[in-house]
């Protein structure tokens, strides 16, 4: 069993890589990517049953990054987890290359669905969960969404459907970093209390510190309680987490780090 300290080291390495990718490719959404790194690490090293050597095995668990704008985080995680050669990350966003700013269709092994438009991941995952039930396969489905994404109506259509079908193989993780593109997610829409909303829709909802790897792992690894309820894990996070001058500063939704800022971030992330 991998130790939390090792996972924390992976998180730091991935964060440094995201800062670098944003700088080199001049792409935004760095703050949004940094906020969900720990959730992704917990998911890919402590929950999702996928063999990188058999990325299309029918029984595999399905992970969908529904907040597709955090694509760099997914790409870096998949590379680190062995789905493809990390050298490919160096081609991110280049003309004609495999890795666009939002996860492209089958762009690399391990990307289950092309996302980018918000509110699509959960319905697709419910379809996959229904398919697993029909086919008698053990596959579980995990969806990572953003808090702003919970403003999409399709999310709540899906939220109503899953408990009705007792789809307890489905887990939703919400990266609740309290920001969306242009403001506070609790002010632009009445998002809070978010966990209570999921509970009211028939989900088993818990709230954790989304940067506490042990807490996220524990929430993910908790077995369904037998009531058939799907599970929502509301992860309280900090946008831009891991780089002091980016943390909770929404300018980093769009800002691109300079070379100097990349170096500062590397020092903070112990990657020198």
């Amino acid at each position: 069993m991998i130790q939390t300290a090792d996972l924390a080291a992976i998180s730091r390495r991935i964060r440094a890589r995201l800062v670098e990718m944003s700088h080199v490719a001049e792409t935004p959404h760095l703050g949004s990517s940094l906020s969900c790194v720990d959730m992704l690490v917990a998911a890919y090293w402590g929950f999702v049953r996928i063999d990188p050597r058999q990325p299309l095995a029918p029984d595999r668990d399905r992970f969908i990054l529904s907040k597709g704008h955090a694509a760099t985080a997914l790409y870096a995680i998949l590379a680190e987890r062995g789905f493809f050669d990390p050298a490919l990350l160096g081609t991110y966003n280049e003309d004609g290359a495999a890795l666009p700013e939002h996860p492209g269709l089958q762009c690399v092994p391990g990307v289950e669905a092309a996302t980018g438009s918000l509110g699509h991941g959960l319905p697709i995952a419910l379809g996959m969960a229904l398919a697993a039930r029909i086919q008698g396969r053990p596959a579980r489905c995990l969806v990572l969404m953003s808090d702003g994404e919970c403003e999409e109506g399709s999310v709540w259509e899906a939220a109503l459907f899953a408990p009705a079908q007792k789809l307890d193989t489905v887990t939703v993780m919400i990266d609740y970093n309290k920001w969306q593109a242009t403001g506070r997610s609790d002010e632009i829409m009445a998002l809070a209390p978010l966990a209570e909303k999921w509970r009211a829709f028939g989900w088993e909802a818990v709230e954790v510190d989304g940067h506490d790897l042990d807490a996220v792992l524990a929430a993910l690894q908790r077995r369904p309680d037998g009531t058939g309820r799907p599970r929502a894990i509301v992860c309280h996070t900090v946008k831009g987490k891991g780089v002091s001058f980016m943390e909770d500063d929404n300018n980093w939704h769009y800002r691109i780090p300079t070379r100097d800022e990349v170096e500062k971030a590397r020092v903070e992330l112990q990657q020198t």
Partner: protein, 309 residues
């Protein structure tokens, strides 16, 4: 058409255990047999079409052959985003079935009309667009739709449409079906107006004009060989559809024609106007308002035909 659809999909589900039927809270009694025989493969997805459409993509990504079924505007234009991204971009074999297309639900008002669906959907890459003319065309087209490797939109009427065929025709996706041959004009009918085109052809015959009638059941991809042959052989080609003149089969044919330069035939596009109709009225009454009855269609063609002499 919808009863023929329910019967066809039930039979096909018996042969192919990958078939899963998703319904948007309609057709409950219609699918009683399906539900009884395949309880694990029928889901009433409620009044939540975006989720239904996204789930269909998820089912297909896992190797199943899902269909979505609801009233046309709710399963198509309402969820164009999910159709575009989840189904067409992923290029998965989902069959989107719209029932009550065109003005089939005339009296329910413009919320339930669909005279823009083909125009909007045929822009989408990877999507095949099928419009059966009558109940007899439904079964072979459903069979074909469920055998295609990518997404399909099937545009159904409701029930009790006049029969165009007396037995199920041999149908190939992408190949127009000549129902009646003629020598003077060619009528391409789409879906539930093929029967009107056929009646119009009979009226034209009384004026000494011999009309070919084609069921253009596949709007995308267009049968280019048949179009070329028709535009070269006839002086007048008409399209008749219960769909807006903007974006429908008439538009598709016009786009094709414009890209190929002048051909022998001129095009007469007959469809619904660029307007909503908000007064009460039956399908028949609305067809009368829009000039979509056999008499009105024959009259339009006659007038145009005479200008060519």
């Amino acid at each position: 058409m919808r009863n023929a659809f329910a019967a066809a999909v039930t039979d096909l589900a018996a042969q192919d255990e990958r078939i899963v039927l998703l319904s948007g809270d309609i057709g409950n009694r219609l699918f009683d047999t399906f539900r009884e025989r395949f309880p694990r493969r029928f889901y009433n997805c409620g009044v939540a079409e975006a989720n239904m459409t996204g789930m269909a993509a998820g089912l297909a990504l896992s190797g199943l052959r899902p269909l979505t079924y609801t009233i046309t505007p709710f399963g198509t234009t309402r969820v164009i985003e999910q159709i575009r991204v989840d189904i067409c971009y992923h290029n998965v074999p989902v069959v989107i079935v719209g029932t009550g297309s065109g003005l089939s639900y005339a009296s329910l008002g413009p919320t339930h009309h669909s005279c823009e669906d083909v125009g909007i959907l045929r822009c989408l890459p990877n999507l095949t667009v099928l419009c059966p003319a009558d109940a007899m065309e439904v079964r072979p087209l459903m069979e074909a739709a469920l055998a295609l490797p990518g997404p399909v939109y099937v545009r159904l009427g409701k029930k009790g449409e006049p029969a165009v065929h007396d037995r199920p025709p041999q149908i190939e996706v992408g190949r127009g079906l000549v129902i009646r041959d003629g020598t003077d004009v060619c009528l391409f009918g789409m879906g539930n107006l093929v029967s009107v085109a056929l009646e119009a052809a009979k009226k034209l015959a009384t004026h000494g004009i011999s009309a070919r009638v084609v069921s253009m059941h596949t709007v995308k991809p267009l049968d280019e060989a048949l179009l070329r042959e028709s535009f070269e052989r006839f002086g007048l080609v008409a399209v008749v559809e219960e769909h807006s003149v903007i974006g429908g089969l008439g538009s598709a044919v016009a786009e094709w024609l414009a890209a190929r330069g002048p051909m022998r035939a001129v095009l007469e596009a007959i469809g619904t106007p660029d307007a909503f109709i908000s007064t009460a009225g039956s399908q028949q009454w609305m067809r009368e308002q829009f000039g979509l009855t056999p008499d009105a269609v024959a009259e339009k063609i006659l007038r145009r035909f005479r200008t060519l002499r």
